[in-house]
């Protein structure tokens, strides 16, 4: 009965809206084509950036977000990194090239 109803009145369909998937996949592809970094390289970059930031502030690792977005004429790396609190550190900056923070 429901089938009959749907046949006449066009009920919910299983197809439809796949174009949104196509569009999202395309946008992602084009950005990555242009940046020419593999997802693995992007992950490494993200980890290294967080490592540096973590030297100065305590961050919420799970809440961080990194995205490549297409702006007018360039690609932008947009990130959101929640800060919990400032890490206590010596008053004077350490000499350059010394004391790399442990991972």
């Amino acid at each position: 009965m429901r089938d009959l109803f749907n046949r006449f009145f066009g009920g919910p369909k299983t197809v439809g809206k796949s174009k949104e998937e196509a569009k999202q996949r395309l946008k992602f592809l084009l950005i990555h084509d242009q940046v020419d970094l593999t997802p693995a390289q992007l992950d490494t970059m993200k980890a290294e950036i967080l490592e540096v930031i973590a030297k100065y502030v305590e961050i919420d690792q799970d809440g961080t977000e990194f995205k490549l977005e297409k702006e007018e004429d360039c690609i932008a790396l947009v990130s959101s990194i929640p800060v919990r609190r400032v890490v206590e550190r010596p008053a004077s900056p350490p000499p350059a090239g010394v004391t790399p923070a442990p991972a």
């Binding site: 439809g16 809206k17 796949s18 174009k19 395309l26």
Partner: protein, 272 residues
């Protein structure tokens, strides 16, 4: 003033050759003189789409190597005044020609024709470089698919790198019904991603296959909707940029119209 336009896409099989043939016909119908050049050396097809394959004696490589004069290499289309074909060589490869030689050939063609349309081979290598060498501008052909649009984006970058002006876009194989149901990207989706001006939208239709079977480009068919799409693109290209694009709205029938009144069907999506 004459102009050389290269028709390119990156991806194969999106309809470059069909587009070249039909735009050649459409421009010649308006009274322009047009030479269509098959730059796909080794895989020639433009002659077949135009139905001129039985009249080939010389080809582009013969002309470039000086084995015949340009006039001897050109095949005049007897159905339409002003349209001529310069076929590609079938037994040579893309390296038989250099960009400099193509530039010289196009310059000579431009002395005799209002428009020179170059059908570019798929890919981004030597064949592409040859095809864009003498061009004044480019038309990008794409279909509403992820792979075709991705390649179109790449080719747009290469056209800009070749110092041609911003290319124009033709969206081919457009299916209004699928767009309406949300299963195909619409005109706006594609333009948002590729960000170049739209020259035209061509519907997907059986007429294209029939016309390819017969060797009669669909632009010759006054009754065909696809033919009309190409004729309009030809007019927009040939000095009437304000000619409206074809209305590709789906003819829904009574039921859908009633359902739409009742709010049970999605709104119409128009590709103008």
């Amino acid at each position: 003033m004459s102009e050389c336009i290269v028709i390119t896409s990156g991806k194969g099989g999106v309809g470059k050759t069909t587009t070249t043939a039909n735009l050649g016909v459409a421009l010649a119908q308006q009274g322009h003189t047009v030479a269509v050049v098959d730059a796909d050396i080794g895989l020639r097809n433009l002659d077949v789409i135009l139905g001129l394959e039985n009249r080939i004696v010389y080809d582009l490589v013969h002309v470039i190597e000086g084995e015949c004069r340009l006039k001897q290499g050109l095949i005049k289309d007897k159905r339409l005044d002003g349209l001529s074909l310069l076929p590609a060589a079938q037994t040579r490869d893309k390296n038989a020609v250099t960009p400099d030689q193509m530039r010289k050939l196009v310059a000579e063609l431009k002395e005799h024709f209002d428009y020179v349309l170059v059908d570019c081979p798929a890919g981004i290598e030597q064949g592409f470089k040859n095809a864009v060498a003498g061009a004044d501008k480019a038309i990008i052909v794409t279909t509403p698919e992820v792979s075709a649009i991705r390649d179109a984006d790449r080719i747009i970058g290469m056209v800009e790198a070749a110092e041609l002006p911003e290319p124009q876009l033709i969206i081919n194989r457009f299916r209004a019904k699928m767009v309406q149901s949300g299963d195909m990207m619409n005109k706006e989706d594609i333009l948002e991603i590729l960000a170049i001006p739209l020259l035209g939208v061509v519907p997907d239709h059986e007429d294209i296959i029939v016309s390819a079977n017969r060797g009669v480009p669909v632009a010759f068919d006054d009754e065909s909707l696809v033919g009309e799409a190409y004729r309009r693109i030809g007019r927009r290209l040939g000095g009437e940029p304000d000619v409206p694009l074809l209305d590709l709205t789906v003819d829904d029938g009574l039921w859908t119209t009633i359902k739409r009144w009742m709010g049970l069907a999605p709104a119409r999506e128009v590709a103008r």
